[in-house]
Amino acid sequence: MKQVIVNPERCVGCMQCMLACARVHSRSLDLTGAALETPGPRSRVHVGAGRYNEGFPNRCRHCDPAPCQMACLTGAIFRDPASATVLINPDRCINCASCAMACPYGVLRFHEDATAPPGRAVAVKCDNCDLRVSQGKIPACAEACKTGALVYKDLEAAMGEKTRQVARAMSSGEEKPAIPETVALYRSMKRAALAIKNRAEAS
């Protein structure tokens, strides 16, 4: 089965996955229209900044067993048997944040949502774009990601590909660097900034 696979080393921090996610969880499905809705749709994927301000796309892993599900006393969190997606029934959510405390990734958020009873904040998280997938589309974040940090792939195949990459990177005489030179240069600048900051702080 295909799923969204996160390749954090490819994230450039553009946050376009976040906009795409918020858009497809809006009523108008149009970015400008979505921005005018109340409650405003919010992204279920969260791009954070690493130590040297590199991007990191933090997305629900739909763990199995899922700590959030186990922590949910009202049974609002459940797994859809067809897609294996961990979902939240907003009608049952009592906004107790137990799930958030249990989630090792910190991807749960609490706010009003178009899918929830009006005027009430509930737990909201990634739904794997199940609706889009059932329409033959791929999850919005993976569609928006142009660098391959979020890809919609078969896990087996993706891991196989990764194994090949690692193997090639480990063997000597590799002709193509694992990371393009441009990206390496860009990141080295960001790392240098961090190093200097640390040193300046120490001094």
């Binding site: 553009c14 791009v47 900044a49 991007g55 142009k146 441009t182 860009y186």
Partner: protein, 622 residues
């Protein structure tokens, strides 16, 4: 944010940041943090919004799109984006120069009360360079003719902007050969904007070549005009003592801070601050006087010519307001963060914008024009004085630091005894190994002033004379490098020369447009030695730059033959071709190139090495 976060290498910076956090003020560091991670496409120069078939971006990992909708690849997109930065920078300086030329013309017509020709020698010198017929004409008539001749530099009727004549002959020949002699000031900017339109120039190299020409139209055109006309109208700077840092604000005086770049406004404010009427009013309000201080470049302009104190540089502009001691901040244009109106609203500070080209949220707008500037300035100072009584809690975080500023090329030569000979001798003898111009801004990506101060210290230790402008000059003055006694921080050779001449090892050359003083100085040196600028043991550096103007300055320096170091990386890493051209390939074209190195210690090594190489090239130590 931790109020104890050391955002600066300066004490006043850190103390005021702590106060800002406690006062719940959102600062540039907060906003920078909130923007993390910044968009990698944009940061690498790989996004394009030039047309609405787009927006487009190129995947730096090579898997996603490699061209925009039009077909532009990474090289083209990166080059176009960089070139538009150059265009904006050139336009900014040159539009500033334009304002001065218009004041000069108004003075000649007698429609600019309060302004006058303060340096007739310089007026005549410039008029000579512009081929103005001075025979039997009075000063004002000459000024008018000069202003109109300068206006032609902005137009399209010339083959070259006039003041390229100041460049060494070899340099001019090179420019002609490469095809980058700037023709008109606005023209090159317009052509740059045209070339970067969809479907015009799609050769990254030819785009960058026009980028060089556009930048030269600033360095030898707009900026040079700005500096020279400022000298004519407000006087050629001469060394004088001053004070720097947030401690220059006075608890018991009315504090007026000018912010921006154009002396046209701040000079009138300075005049008004010294008027009997205002001083009396201040006394009546219980103040011991009117204390004018500057931030950013308009402050530098005043410091250079009147010794007026500097309260801080770019990243200090918000913090200065948190002292609660600023009764009025008067801004013109450039580098004025739109946030400061909001910061001021938490204190009693009155915020005033003055330019017809620049308004800001949360500021009162009082437009200065040559005809009304004198009066407007008086009215504003009056309001500021009246605001003194509205002060609440005031915190002046440090004692002010002494410094000497005001080195124009003219006065440097004068300090040398009337000719550049002693300087050249010192260089030849190896007592001074060379010189580096450190210029540019602050950037929250780098600990405030860390780049400037570290680099400067390392260079003077190695007997390299440092000249600085803009925000760097404030950082260096605050660090104490601008006292004659700072010669002790210099290496033995430089120390000896500084002691002999009674000058500091770090000379303040002025504002950002005043970087042209560096061009004039190196041209004089090159001419004296009979070599090109690119042969000299000199370099440029912008360790903490942030602005498009800084890009343009860097590019005109390099195009003029001065190898230049940049602290922060420009948004070009998406194209190795562009990176390689700027850092390596350009040397074959203009005899100089860029080096990017965020670490000021490593940058110092690079610059020292560069200077030693140039010395070798000239056979100086053999």
């Amino acid at each position: 944010f931790d109020p104890k976060a050391e955002i600066s290498v300066t004490q006043d910076g850190n103390r005021l940041f702590e106060k800002a956090v406690k006062d719940n003020i959102e600062t540039v560091w907060h906003r920078h943090e909130a923007q993390q991670p910044q968009c990698g496409f944009c940061d690498m120069g790989l996004s394009c919004r030039i047309c609405i078939m787009g927006p487009c971006r190129v995947d730096p990992f090579g898997e996603g799109p490699q061209t925009g909708v039009c077909g532009a690849d990474a090289d083209i997109i990166v080059a176009r984006n960089l070139c538009r930065m150059i265009a904006a920078g050139a336009a900014s300086h040159s539009d500033h120069g334009r304002d001065l030329v218009e004041v000069l013309e108004s003075v000649s017509k007698g429609t600019a009360p309060g302004y006058k020709i303060r340096d007739e020698d310089k007026l005549r010198q410039l008029a000579g360079e512009y081929g103005v017929d001075m025979e039997g004409k009075d000063v004002l008539a000459i000024a008018g003719d000069l202003a109109r001749a300068m206006m032609e530099d902005y137009g399209m009727r010339q083959k070259a902007v006039t003041l390229v004549s100041r460049a060494p002959e070899k340099r001019r020949e090179l420019w002609d050969k490469v095809g980058i002699t700037p023709r008109g000031i606005d023209r090159e900017t317009s052509e740059m904007m045209h070339r970067t339109h969809m479907g015009v120039d799609n050769d990254w190299q030819s785009l960058l070549v026009q980028g060089l020409r556009n930048a030269l139209s600033d360095g030898w055109g707009g900026s040079m005009i700005a500096t020279e006309v400022s000298d004519i109208l407000f006087g050629v700077p001469a060394p004088k003592p001053t004070m720097v840092n947030a401690g220059v604000l006075k608890k018991d005086q009315v504090n007026i801070v000018v912010h921006g770049h154009n002396p046209v406004v701040s000079e009138m404010v300075s005049k008004a601050c010294m008027s009997e009427e205002m001083l009396d009013l201040a006394k009546a309000k219980g103040a011991f006087g009117i204390n004018l201080a500057g931030v950013c470049c308009t402050g530098n302009e005043l410091l250079m010519r009147r010794g007026i104190a500097m309260a801080g540089n770019h990243l200090m502009t918000e913090l200065i307001l948190t002292t609660g001691a600023v009764d009025m901040m008067i801004v013109d244009y450039q580098c004025i963060m739109p946030s400061i109106g909001k910061v001021a609203s938490c204190y009693h500070t009155r915020m005033v914008s003055t330019s017809d080209k620049a308004k800001f949220p949360g500021m009162e707008h009082h437009e200065f024009h040559p005809e009304n500037a004198e009066k407007k300035a008086m009215a504003l100072v009056k309001t500021a004085v009246e605001n003194f009584t509205n002060r609440k809690e005031v915190m002046i975080p440090v004692e002010p630091q002494e410094a000497v500023g005001g080195f124009s090329v003219e006065t440097i030569i004068q300090a040398l005894g009337g000719t550049a000979e002693p300087l050249i001798d010192a260089i030849k003898a190896g007592k001074i190994r060379g010189a580096v111009g450190i210029v540019g801004c602050n950037n929250p990506k780098i600990k405030h002033d860390h780049g400037h101060v570290t680099l400067t210290r390392k260079l003077i230790e190695k007997d390299i004379l440092v000249v600085d402008t803009g925000c760097v000059s404030v950082a260096n003055a605050k660090a104490g490098f601008k006292l004659a006694s700072a010669a002790d921080m210099a290496g033995p050779g430089l120390k000896e020369i500084c002691k002999a001449l009674g000058i500091p090892p770090v000379l303040h050359l002025g504002s950002c447009v005043d970087n042209v003083r560096i061009l004039v100085l190196v041209s004089a040196l090159a001419n004296a030695l009979g070599v090109d600028i690119s042969d000299l043991p000199v370099a440029g550096s912008a360790p903490e730059w942030y602005s498009e103007k800084a890009v343009t300055i860097g590019v005109y320096c390099v195009a003029s033959g001065i190898t230049t170091h940049l602290g922060p990386m420009p948004p070009i890493t998406g194209s190795l071709n562009v990176v390689n051209l700027l850092t390596r390939g350009l040397t074959d074209v203009v005899g100089a190139g860029f080096a990017v190195e965020p670490d000021p210690e490593k940058a110092a090594l690079f610059l020292i090495n560069h200077i030693e190489e140039k010395r070798k090239g000239l056979g100086l130590d053999s």
